[in-house]
Structures are given as C-alpha cells and as structure tokens.
C-alpha cells in the first residue's frame, strides 16, 4: 500500500457481509464495560478472535506520537504469567496465526485458530489486557525495532514519506496530522512511564471490545468470556479527544525531494465522516474514481492519457473524526508532476459540474454490494467488519450501510464534490525524485 499507516483502513472498506436473516449477532456489554460481539459461522472448524481497543494515534499528544503503536508492539512482550514471546509461541504451537495493527482510531489484535483452542486465546487476551509487564529493558530493545519499522515504511518508502508530509500539513490542530508510527524523535524519546500510563488509561475493558466469528456456540463462548474477562476491573473513562480541526483557510503545499524513480502527486481535501449524510456519496465517489480499471482515474490518467503509472482516490468512511479524501497518482516516466496535478485537479473539477453517467453510478454500487458478499467468505474479515461498524457507533449500522449506498444519486455526487473539494483549500504533496 502506498500510504500504509496514514490511511490504513481504506482498502478494507470495500466489502463486508450482508445482513442475512440467518446471521444472528450476539452482543452484550459486560458489567465492567467490555463490549462482546459474537457471530456463529460453522463452515470451517476455525475461529477469528479479535480484541479491539478504542485507542490509536488519534489519542496521542504532541511529543508522544507513536505511543499507541509502540504499545501494540509491547503487547507481545509478556505478562507475569506468559513471558516475553510466549503469546506468539503458544498461538503457533496450537496452529494459530496472530497479528495486530494500529490505526488512527483503534488498536486491534487478532488470533485465527482452530475452534477447539478458543479457551486458550481467551486466556491470553484477557491476561494481556490487564497484566502487561512493560519491562523497561524490553521497551528499549523494542524501541529500536519500531524505528526500523519506521525506516522501512516511511524513511525509505517515497509514497509513505510523502503521505506523512501531506497529512502533517493538512491538519494544524487534530492529531490525524501525526503519523501512526510516530515521529522518529518521539519514538526515540517516549519513556517507559509514559507507555505504562498510556496502557493503564486506554487498555481497560470499558474501552475495548471482543469480536469473534467462527465455529462455536455463542452462548457458551459468551459465558467463557464473562468468566475470564469479567474480573478485570473497569477503569476510569479514557479522556475524550476534544480537538476539532479548524476549517482550512487556504491551500497548503509540500514539495519533497527524495531518492526515487518517479514523481508522485497527492491531493487531499477535508471531508466529513460517516455521521454526515454526505458520507455515502463520498464512498460511492471513491469507488467511481478508483474501483478497478473501468474507474475514472485509471481510465483517464493511466489508460487514455498515459500520464500515470497508477492513480486513485481514497475515502475513510469509518474514520471517528472527519478526515481526508485523497487523490493520488504516480507519474509515468517523462511526465511532470505539474501535468499530473493539473489533470488530477481537472478530474476533481469535472465532478462538480458534470454528473457521472448512469453506468458509472450503477457499477460503483454493484461493486460495493458485491464486495460485501465477497467479504463474507472469510471469518476474519467478517469479524473485522463487525468491529469497524461497532467502533463508529454500533455493529448494526452494517445493515443500513448498503441502503445508504443504494440511495445515492448522480446529483448527490455533484453536490458533495462541490461542497468538499474547494480548489483554493486543497492540500498538495509533490515528490520529486532526487537522482
């Protein structure tokens, strides 16, 4: 992915299980505030067990960026009961796969494993929700690993590097302007005490949800989760993120020179999130712009004009706070970033005046609906999607999502493009290859 950490959630947006009559989600909030969401799926004897914490780079303060992601790494470093590396070791020993990711809004841990090993995973996840060691020596060692990760993803990746720069100029107040992995200076500085405090504040059952999909009886699993997680004490409510990004007052632009082969251009506009009625049209717009080879930016910039090696548009439907709508393109050799920017802008301007064709609109809706069905094939993705909707206000919103998409008209698209893509308030990033 070109901007792995900055817009991490985007590619996952297309696709989710449709609400089918047979799907009965069991949801309950335990006394300690832990949200539990369970869905039986008996096709294979496996289960995806996921724990999502409502904390990401959004919850970080300046000077301590990257702390949420740093803590994610530390979650694999052991508790008094299960020492360093034991978590992964036990999961592998039982034929399971585990990993985690941090986004702007959440930190998510998952284990996919044979269904008869579920108790083991419940034990491990409950243990590290409350008993993480956070040994200073381990923190120092892992700090270097995180810095290596930053080098791979950002310092040595032209697209990742530019994405970070553009986000940082687009937001002057809101923490979405900071990279998820954190600024290198912050990663280097953050103290074990700060990580410990961050863990105590945000890793409490009332700030977390357990989501599981797989071959189990939901009622039984709910009891087992209650038994093991129920004893973890509720914490104080984590502090809310109060910052509201002020409206942009003008264009912002960043030009970086870096060892690279081809120029890259990013355009980004501030847009509303899913709480707005404009969210569904923006989602459809993103599919019309970049959903496949028939989509606009590919067809025009890559195929017809041969200006770009690749091009697309991204919208973060699931963002907790209002975020950015991205347009991006990588130049073909010999093409200048000036031409690319001009042509990307022309595509944006065209959306404001000329309604998309009926075929484009129907295709985009069909693509979004089909992706929902395709996603249903994987228990991991089914669980992730329930969690994503739960984060933004309730898993049941999944059921209204397609209805909102279906209701979008070509006129809606003209309207939202006019409202949200003001030419004089755009954020522009240009990467110029340094020979």
């Amino acid at each position: 992915m070109r901007r792995a950490l900055v817009v991490f959630l985007v590619p996952l947006l297309l696709g989710a299980p449709p609400a089918r009559a047979a799907d009965t989600v069991v949801a309950e909030t335990l006394d300690n505030g832990l949200r539990v969401i369970l869905l039986e799926d008996h096709r294979s004897p496996i289960v995806s067990f996921q724990v999502w914490y409502r904390v990401g780079s959004r919850n970080e303060r300046r000077g301590a960026t990257g702390i949420a992601h740093f803590l994610e790494h530390m979650m694999f470093k052991g508790t008094p009961t299960h020492g360093r590396g034991q978590f992964a070791r036990i999961v592998e020993q039982n034929g399971g796969q585990d990993n985690a990711f941090t986004s702007q809004d959440v930190t998510s841990y998952f284990v996919n494993i044979a269904a008869d090993k579920l108790d083991l995973v419940i034990e491990l996840e409950a243990d590290r929700m409350h008993n993480l060691l956070l040994d200073p020596k381990e923190i120092e060692s892992e700090r270097q690993v995180v810095i290596e990760e930053r080098r791979t993803r950002t310092e040595d990746d032209p697209g990742g590097f530019l994405g970070e720069e553009v986000a940082s100029i687009a937001f002057k107040a809101h923490p979405y302007g900071s990279p998820i992995i954190g600024w290198q200076e912050d990663i280097t500085r953050i103290t074990p005490e700060e990580i410990r405090a961050f863990y105590r504040t945000y890793y409490v059952p009332n700030n977390a949800m357990v989501v599981a999909v797989g071959d189990f009886r939901a009622g039984e699993v709910l009891e087992r989760i209650k038994r093991r997680f129920g004893g973890i004490p509720r914490g104080a409510a984590p502090p809310p993120v109060l910052t509201v990004e002020p409206p942009p007052n003008g264009e912002r632009r960043v030009v970086v020179r870096k060892q690279a082969e081809l120029p890259i251009v990013y355009l980004a506009y501030h847009v509303p999130n899913q709480r707005s009625n404009d969210a569904a049209p923006l989602e459809v717009l993103s599919t019309i712009l970049s959903g496949g080879r028939a989509s606009r930016l590919y067809r025009y910039l890559v195929y017809e004009r041969r200006l770009a090696l690749e091009a697309g548009g991204d919208y973060s439907y699931f963002s907790i706070d209002p975020n950015l709508f991205w347009f991006w393109a990588t130049a073909m050799p010999g093409q200048t970033p000036e031409t690319l920017e001009k042509e990307l802008l022309a595509q944006v301007e065209r959306l404001k005046t000329e309604p998309v064709t009926d075929e484009e609109l129907r295709r985009a809706k069909n693509q979004i609906e089909a992706a929902f069905v395709f996603q249903e094939d994987s228990i991991h993705r089914r669980a992730s999607l329930l969690a994503r909707f739960e984060v933004i206000g309730g898993y049941a919103q999944k059921d209204q999502f397609l209805a909102k998409i279906r209701a979008v008209t070509a006129a809606d698209l003209v309207r939202v493009a006019g409202s949200w893509f003001p030419e004089d308030k755009k954020n522009v990033g240009i990467l110029l290859p340094k020979p």
Partner: protein, 435 residues
Amino acid sequence: MTRSLTTRFASLMLLGLASPAAAAPIAHREVLPNGIVLLVAERPAVPIVAVRALVQAGAVHDPPDRAGLANLTGVLLTRGTTKRTGPELDSAIEFVGGSLEAGAGRDSIGASLRVLKPDLGLGLDLLSEVILSPTFPPDEVTRKIDEIQASIKRSEEDPGAVAARALARLVFPGHPYGLPVEGTRESVARLTRDDVVKFHRERFRPDATVVAVVGAVTVDEARREVLGRFGSWARPASPLPGVPTASAGREPREEVIPRDLTQATIMFGRQAIRQTDPDYFALVVASYVLGGGSASRLYTRVREEGGLAYSVYSYVSPSKYGSAFFVSAQTRIAEVPKVRTLLNAELARMTREPPSDAELSLAKAYLVGSFPLRLDTSAKVADFVSAIEELGLGLDYADRYKERVARVTAREVQRAAQRFFIPETFNRVVVGRTP
C-alpha cells in the same frame, strides 16, 4: 502491523506449509477430453465463485533473449479479445462487481476470476475469451510495454525488490529463474507484438491448462460450464515442450548495490530442493525453526533480543523446475556487520546441533495445525488446488505433507541444515549504504 512480513510470506510459503485437517478430498479432479484438468471444490455457503485458470506458459518458458515475454502476454490477455476491447472487458466484469485479472508467474500464466454466483456465466464467458481468443491490439501492446518499463523503473525504489532480483541472478545463473518474471528494461524493449502472438499460439494449449472452480457451484455445473466454453479447444499433436531443471549454481557470490537509504536490505540465497525430494519436509521444518515465525531463532536473536530489525525471516521457495532457500533482514546501516554475523551464526548453529524438542514440536504443530486457516476462502482454495496440480504433486499432497511433516525428527532437521544451511554456500546481496 507488528509482523507484517510473517503474514505476507505465508502466502508464498503456502505449498511449503500446507496440510489439511481432514482427509476428505480437497477437490474433485477430472481430465476433460481435450486434456484440460478440471478441479472443482464445492463451497455452497457463500454465493460466490472463484475460478483460477493456469496455463504452463510462465516466465520459465521465455526465449533466452526475450525475458518478460510471458509476463507481457499475461497482462495483455485482458486487453482485448475477438469479441471485446480491453475497456469493454473491464466494464463488463466490474459492472457486476466482479474481477478478472491475468498475469504471469515463474511457471505459468494465470487468470483469476471472482464473481457472485449469478454472474458465473458472464465471468466464464470473459475468462474463456481472454484465454482462447485474445487479439493483442497493437496500441495495447505498446501501452503495456511502457507500463512494464515504468514499473521496472519504479521497483528500483524498493530495496527488497532490488535485492531479490539481484539474488535470483546469483542463485540461478544461466536458468530462466535467474531472470525477473517482468524481464529487464533491455529485454522488454526488444519485445514485439509478433513475439506475443507466437508465444500465445505455441504455449496456450488445453493439455497445458488447469481450471479450478471453487465456491457455490456443483461438479456437474462446473463441468458443463467449462466444457461449454473450453470443450472445442483442440489439443495439438505436438508434445508439450520441456524446460530444463535448474542446474547447480556456481561458486557463491556477493553483490553490494548502493542506495541512499536509511536501512540496508540483506538477503542470502542458494538453491534448495522441491517437494519431491525426500529431505524437503525436514528442510521446511528447519527453515521454520530458523526463521519461520515469531518464535524462530532469527526473530528471537535479531529482533526480540537484538532490536536490530523489524523484518527478519527465512523461507523455502520451491517452483516446478527448481527451488531456493532464502534468508533476509533489514537493518540500520551501522548494524549490517552485526546482523550478518548473527545470520551466519544461526545458520551454522542449525548445522551443528539438532533443534530442541520444544522448537521441533512448535514448528511441526504450527505447520500442520495452521493449514485450515490457509484454505478459508474460495479464492485461496482455487489458488491452492491449481498450484498443486500444476506442480504435479497430486491432490493428496496436503495429506501427505501433514503426515510427512509430523514424522520429521530432530536429527533429520539437522541433516537438512547440514545440506542447505552452511553459511559459505550462500550467495549474498546487500542493498543500501554499507558502513
């Protein structure tokens, strides 16, 4: 992500890791009258179908001075047929929310179709058109050559890609596996439409083709639909052309490729063995103990204890006409000597002493137990069964694999290491500044 590379490489290692939990046949297999091998796996629960067609026409079949010809042919399949232009193909499949992608690998050209069940007829129409009657329009050929050239240029930005390319040249000197699938800028510049037409005419034949149909479909239905579209494809009288198996490499070499990056990418590689070699399963276990997961020796020493890398791993990469074993790490410039020393030391230690009981049992438990997770979607099943067929391993390979891995002893692991892990036998590539 905490361990993105572990996850990414899982798919590459699929054939090396796989084994099913159940003994039930993984797919129905039959040979159609014209020689096409049809594989069908019924997965009725989700109304989607994934189809994977493989033709033995991969990069290994490129003429010596035409590296990249199979790849160019593969990407051009969807760029126009006797019935539809490229854009018409794109619109047709995307309008129903499906996807149809084609491209080349080392051993074969593959086309992947994914559709909702009601669109299977349309999807198979398109799939059969792109395989049987592509027209390779001249302007599309020019466009794709330009795009491939641009992609090769851009891949120079990616130190992992640069290292892998250089290492393949050293590991497989004089064999097509030593050349990149996409070709080189020089070889691609030489390719013509006539080359593509000839390659397609000579290499695409039913007795070199596997079609795997997986999802909400029955065997009878799949047979009928595939026969209806591919049944009249005539089998040529000529025998299938052969490909030489890779001969042993020459003296190991080392290459340093300077790049102005903050990290250096270190890759070691040498030839290894295919699934048909009796030592293969011991090698797979040995590689897992060394650098396969987050309990592995390399992960523990280099990442967990040393804080020297985010990404460090080893893997076996078997293909149809040869096999390789790789070790890789990315670290900051200053630590290159230390990481190289650790990689060498851990390789050598594997040859000196057998793995511990705990290491052996963990590796075997993971390799055997994680299998169902690797086949949890229709697309993954289609990819797996078609690859097994192409490699000639037999549909019982998954069962045999499980049984063979479970029987591997510590002594056999050490013997495999003695055969393949001697540090002096590795070719080495470092991309980046060296201290």
